[in-house]
C-alpha cells in the first residue's frame, strides 16, 4: 500500500484503468489526427485527381482513391474533425438541457415533475432514430438540423437519469444543512446536489457518444446529415456503396475509423464506470 501511495496519483492502480487508458489513447489519437489534419493528410481532401480514379491502396495512395480520384486516407483524416464534432456537440446539447430540466423537476417535484415524466414517456415511445429522422425531414437535411433534433429528443435520457439521482440525494443531511443555512433553492440545486448527482450522467454521456456518433454517421449515410463534398465517414461509406464490387476500400476504411473512435468512447465509458463504481 505504501509503495502504491508513492506513485503519482494517475498511475495508481484502480479497477478498469487499462480499459480507461486504452480508450483515452484511441480517442486522443483521433483528436490529434483531427487537429493535425492539414499536416498529416498527404493530399487535399477534395482534390480530384482525374488520372487516379478508383486507384487501389498502394504506394501513391495508401488507402486508395474514390471514384472522383480523391485520396481516401486524406478524407478519412479530415473527416475526423466533422465526426468528433458530431460526437461532442451531439452529446453536449442534450446533456446540458436534460441535466438542468431533470435537476429542477427532481428537486421541486409536484405537477411539473409529473407532466415532465409523461413527456419523457412519450418521447421514449418513439424509436430514437425515427423521431430524429422525422424532425430532420421538417428542418431540412444538414448537420444543424441533426443537432437541433438531438437536442429535442436526446435530453430525455439525461433528465430521467439526473432526476432519479436528485430524488435519492435530496433527503440527505447535507441538503438539510444547506437549507437550514438559508441557501436559495438554485444554490442548493446546482452547487450542492448537482455535483453529487453527476457521476452517472457523465458515464452515460461517454457511452452516449457512441450512439450519437453512429447516429450522426447513419443520418449522413442516408443523405440527411453532412452534405457532400464535405468529408465525413458516414457519407464516405455511402459514396462507396455504389462501388463495392470494384473498390472495397472506399467503404471499408471510413467504417474502420468510426469503429476505432466508438470503441475508444466505449472503453472510456467502461473504464470510468468501473473506477467510479457506476452500474449500467
Amino acid at each position: 500500500m505504501i509503495v502504491a501511495a508513492a506513485r503519482p496519483l494517475f498511475l495508481r492502480p484502480f479497477p478498469g484503468r487499462v480499459t480507461l487508458f486504452t480508450g483515452l489513447l484511441l480517442v486522443g489519437l483521433m483528436v490529434l489526427a483531427a487537429l493535425l489534419a492539414p499536416w498529416l493528410a498527404p493530399y487535399d481532401p477534395v482534390f480530384q485527381d482525374g488520372n487516379a480514379r478508383l486507384a487501389a491502396p498502394g504506394a501513391g495512395h495508401l488507402l486508395g482513391t474514390d471514384n472522383f480520384g480523391r485520396d481516401v486516407l486524406s478524407r478519412v483524416i479530415w473527416a475526423a474533425r466533422v465526426d468528433l464534432q458530431i460526437a461532442f456537440l451531439g452529446v453536449a446539447f442534450p446533456f446540458v438541457i436534460g441535466t438542468v430540466i431533470g435537476t429542477v423537476a427532481g428537486y421541486f417535484g409536484g405537477v411539473v415533475d409529473a407532466i415532465l415524466m409523461r413527456i419523457i414517456d412519450v418521447v421514449l415511445a418513439f424509436p430514437y432514430l425515427v423521431l430524429i429522422i422525422a424532425i430532420i425531414a421538417i428542418l431540412g437535411p444538414g448537420l444543424q438540423s441533426f443537432y437541433i433534433s438531438l437536442a429535442l429528443v436526446g435530453w430525455v435520457s439525461y433528465a430521467r437519469l439526473i432526476r432519479s439521482q436528485i430524488l435519492i440525494l435530496k433527503s440527505a443531511d447535507f441538503v438539510l444543512a444547506a437549507r437550514s443555512l438559508g441557501y436559495s433553492h438554485s444554490r442548493i440545486m446546482f452547487r450542492h446536489l448537482l455535483p453529487n448527482a453527476l457521476v452517472n450522467s457523465i458515464v452515460f454521456a461517454m457511452s452516449d457518444m457512441v450512439l450519437v456518433l453512429l447516429g450522426g454517421a447513419s443520418i449522413s449515410f442516408l443523405g440527411l446529415g453532412v452534405q457532400p463534398p464535405t468529408a465525413e465517414w458516414g457519407i464516405m461509406v455511402a459514396e462507396g456503396q455504389g462501388f463495392i464490387t470494384q473498390a472495397w476500400w472506399m467503404t471499408t476504411f471510413p467504417g474502420i475509423a468510426i469503429l476505432i473512435l466508438s470503441f475508444g468512447f466505449s472503453l472510456i465509458a467502461d473504464g470510468l464506470g468501473e473506477k467510479l463504481g457506476v452500474r449500467e
Binding site: P127, L129, V130, I138, S218, T252
Partner: protein
C-alpha cells in the same frame, strides 16, 4: 391470477402516452413548411379548388379543431393519402409490415443464438482470456455502424463468395429466406453485443447467488446448476432489455432496409422523407411508436409470467 390484474389497467396508463404520440406526430406534420392543399393539388391548381380542398380537410379551421379532425380520422383508421403512391397510407403500411416483422424477429432470434453461448463462456470463465475476448468483441459490436457492417457482409458474402443475393426481398418463401440472411445478421451482430453484456452481468450475479449455492449443496453438478438454476433466472432481465431496446432495433431496421433495398416500413419512411410524402412519414412514425409501446407491454406480461415475485 391477481398478479395479472395490471393487464387490464396498464392499457389505461398507455392512454396519455398514445395521446402524446398523436400530438407529436400531428405537430410534426403541421410544422412542415408549405401549403398542404397546394401539395395535394399541385402548383397549377385554381384558387377556388384550393379553397375547396382546405374546407374539405378542415385546413381553414383553428389548429385545435384540426387536431380533433385528425383524431376523428385516426379513430376511423384513416391516416390520409400518400401523394407518391396514390393510395391510403394505412393500406400502404399494411403491405410493408411483413418484411420488417421478418427482419426484426429474425435478427432477435439470431442475436439470442449468438449472445447465449458468448455470455455463458464469459461468465463461466470470468476474468480469464475467453471473458476478455468476449468483452472486446461485444464492445466492438456496440460501436460498429450498422450501415457499414451491412456493406462489409455484402462485399464478403455476396460479392466475393456469391452465397447470398446482394439486395432485395424476393417473392417465394425460399427467395425471401436467402434475401433476409445478411440483413438479419447485420442487426443481430450489433444486438447480440448489447445482450451479451447484459446476460453476462446477470449470469455472474446468479452464479454467486444463494439459490445456486443451495443447488450445489444438494450435490448438483456445476453444469446442472448453471442450466437449471442460473440461466433461467438470468435470462429474464435480458429479455426485458430486448423490449427496452425495441426502439433502437427499429432504428436499425430503417438503416438496414435502406442498404439492402428491402421493401419494409423503414424504407418507406426514408422514401417518404425524400419525396416529401408527409402523410406517409406521419403514419410510419406513429405505427413505430405504437409498436414500441405494445412490445413494452408484452414484456411486462412476460416478466410477471416468468417471475412470481414481480408485481406490477
Amino acid at each position: 391470477m391477481h398478479r395479472y390484474r395490471f393487464v387490464l389497467f396498464r392499457p389505461l396508463q398507455f392512454l396519455p402516452v398514445l395521446f402524446g404520440i398523436s400530438v407529436i406526430t400531428f405537430v410534426l406534420v403541421r410544422l412542415i413548411p408549405g401549403d398542404p392543399a397546394r401539395m395535394l393539388l399541385g402548383t397549377r391548381a385554381t384558387a377556388s379548388a384550393l379553397e375547396r380542398i382546405r374546407a374539405q380537410y378542415g385546413l381553414d379551421e383553428p389548429i385545435w379543431v384540426q387536431y380533433l379532425y385528425f383524431l376523428k380520422n385516426l379513430s376511423a383508421g384513416e391516416m390520409g393519402r400518400s401523394i407518391v403512391f396514390k393510395t391510403d397510407v394505412l393500406k400502404l403500411i399494411a403491405t410493408r409490415i411483413e418484411p420488417t416483422l421478418v427482419l426484426v424477429t429474425g435478427s432477435v432470434l439470431l442475436a439470442i443464438l449468438i449472445a447465449v453461448p458468448m455470455a455463458t463462456i464469459a461468465s463461466r470463465q470470468r476474468g480469464r482470456m475467453p471473458d476478455q475476448a468476449v468483452r472486446v468483441v461485444s464492445t466492438l459490436g456496440l460501436g460498429t455502424p450498422p450501415f457499414w457492417l451491412a456493406l462489409m457482409l455484402m462485399i464478403v458474402f455476396s460479392v466475393k463468395l456469391d452465397l447470398f443475393p446482394v439486395s432485395g426481398y424476393g417473392r417465394t418463401l425460399s427467395e425471401k429466406a436467402t434475401h433476409m440472411v445478411l440483413p438479419c445478421l447485420t442487426i443481430a451482430l450489433s444486438l447480440s453485443a448489447v445482450l451479451t453484456r447484459s446476460l453476462r452481468a446477470s449470469l455472474i450475479a446468479q452464479i454467486t447467488s444463494d439459490q445456486a449455492t443451495a443447488a450445489r449443496a444438494r450435490g448438483l453438478s456445476e453444469g446442472a446448476v448453471f442450466w437449471r438454476h442460473v440461466m433461467p433466472n438470468a435470462i429474464v432481465p435480458t429479455l426485458n432489455l430486448l423490449a427496452v431496446n425495441i426502439g433502437w432495433l427499429i432504428g436499425g431496421t430503417v438503416i438496414v432496409e435502406s442498404v439492402f433495398a428491402i421493401p419494409g416500413m423503414g424504407q418507406l419512411l426514408i422514401r417518404g422523407i425524400f419525396s416529401r410524402d408527409y402523410m406517409v412519414v406521419q403514419g410510419v412514425a406513429m405505427c413505430f411508436a405504437v409498436a414500441t409501446v405494445l412490445v413494452n407491454f408484452l414484456a411486462d406480461i412476460l416478466t410477471v409470467a416468468a417471475d412470481p415475485r414481480v408485481k406490477l
